[in-house]
Amino acid sequence: MVAQVLVNGIITAAEYALISLGFALIYRTAGFIHFSHGIVLTAGAYLTFLLTKWLGLPLSYSILPAVALSVLLGCLIETAVYRPLRRRKASSLILLLASLGVYFALQNIVSMAFGDGTRTIRLGGPEEGINVLGARITPVQVMIIFVSMALFVVVALLMKRTRIGRAMRAVASDPALARLCGIESDRVILFVFAIGSALAGVAGILVALDVNMTPTMGLNALMMGMLAAIIGGVRSIPGVALGALFLGMAQQLGGWKMGPQWQDATAFVILLAFLLFRPQGVLSRKGRSAKLGFGS
């Protein structure tokens, strides 16, 4: 039983980690809470559903176009809503409110187009689990863990080794100085939205393959991703992974001890504790996140 709880914790963490990474990249580069990140995740899942079930494409051919369209959606939100607001020097709270609006408008469009019920892209009936140290894990769940880890490595390398990665870190640490160095922050931010949205799109498809989809799946995933990022510290990629792992484990353990309906409450109590006592997260030094946390 304990082994099963731990395995479930890792699977949960792998899903949270992907949405969390995208959220953290956008948060630290653009400097505000991109709430509609959640709808990009929902879009990834529902676009795959649309391509496979309504257009009849095989699943393997639908994933790439679905992720591409999610990227397009993320970039569209950035250029149509956030960029004009940034031009006007709107505060991060204004951007957050606009983002909430975008989220609810789009979520209801998904509801109207696909209905509020559960939709599935899973193949056939319940899958046989593989036995790992007394815990059952399905092949899809194994894939989720590997895809998540692989994407983390890719993004970490991108941030460390490439020009655009350096530019992203520059804009994150000091937008004004980055501008002085000839970095076009709008282009860098657009790029961050593209990467973040791709991660969200993939996360949406993975969650759908694991536990199906509903129009509100994005809100829940985003909340957990946000929590993982805050717990781990938005400034550090390993921190985000660690935050997701911690949150996934804590949630599964809490659910196991008190009943699954208390998973959300467990997660948010942990969040409140972190916000009060360590708002910069486990791994971050007191950087910009802390400054934002304590007002600037």
Binding site: G31, F32, I33, V81, P84, L85, K89, A90, S91, S92, L93, I94, L95, L96, L97, A98, L100, G101, V102, Y103, F104, A105, L106, Q107, N108, I109, S111, M112, P175, A176, L219, M223, M226, I230, G259, Q261, W262, D264, A265, F268, V269, L271, L272, L275, L276, P279, K291, L292, G293, F294, G295, S296
Partner: protein
Amino acid sequence: MEYLLHIVILIGIYVILSVSLNLIAGYTGALSIAHAAFYGVGAYVAALMALKLHSPFLLNVVCAVFLCGLLGALVGIPSLRIRGDYFVIATFAFQVITFSVLNNWVSFTSGPMGLPGIPQPMIFGLKISSHLGFLLLIGLLCAITLLITRQIVRSPFGRVLKTIREDEVLAQAAGKNVAKYKVLVFVVGAGMAAVAGVMYAYYISFIDPTSFTVMESIFILSIVIIGGAGSLWGPVVGAIVLVMLPEALRFIGLPSSIAANIRQMLYGGALVAFMMWRPQGLLGEYAFEKESSQT
């Protein structure tokens, strides 16, 4: 006629909710998405007392206000340490936890089944049962809420709140105990939201947790922002506009299956539009711009 009264009563409940949130968010600048939590706790306290203890209406109101005031202090205290984006997330967390408790503590709140059969309120031997009676009672409470809010914001107390909103360090430098003011405003705001919750519970006579979700909190916040944060009448105008809007949709004959979706879509769209073109709302004076010093 009943239908018309029903709409006006709903507007009244949302006026109390949004005017009290305006005190917290509009005047003090603490953007909170936990207002539906206070609203819900108020409703549940009154409903549970009426159903289990058969206690009188006025006592229930007092208890609900008192308990929500305490909860308000609980949310207000972190606002001293956590600001800006992170405070929004903290209130969000509080909202989710409250909903989770209402929904999952089945033995006490009866969970998703809700609490049916809340009796009609008795005030000084007078039973309020008709729509008109509720309208008068809620109208009176709206007036009291507005009056208290006006007194607060026009007093020296209110000037300190606005100073905190514009420049917290300045308020501190002027020797004001910022902590005390912030916590107090949360206590008052939460207490008023509790009144709205009690009225909702008695009026509908049935409550369940789905009336007190994050979405509801965001809806109340939208009323404040679209009406105009930091103005006395802004939230009143906001409540009238946003409650009437879906009723107008009903008249153009939308199928009811998608009416709820269209409504929420319009709220979302309106929020975006206001942020882009009129962040201070219809009548407002404050547009959540304090944090912009970072760029």
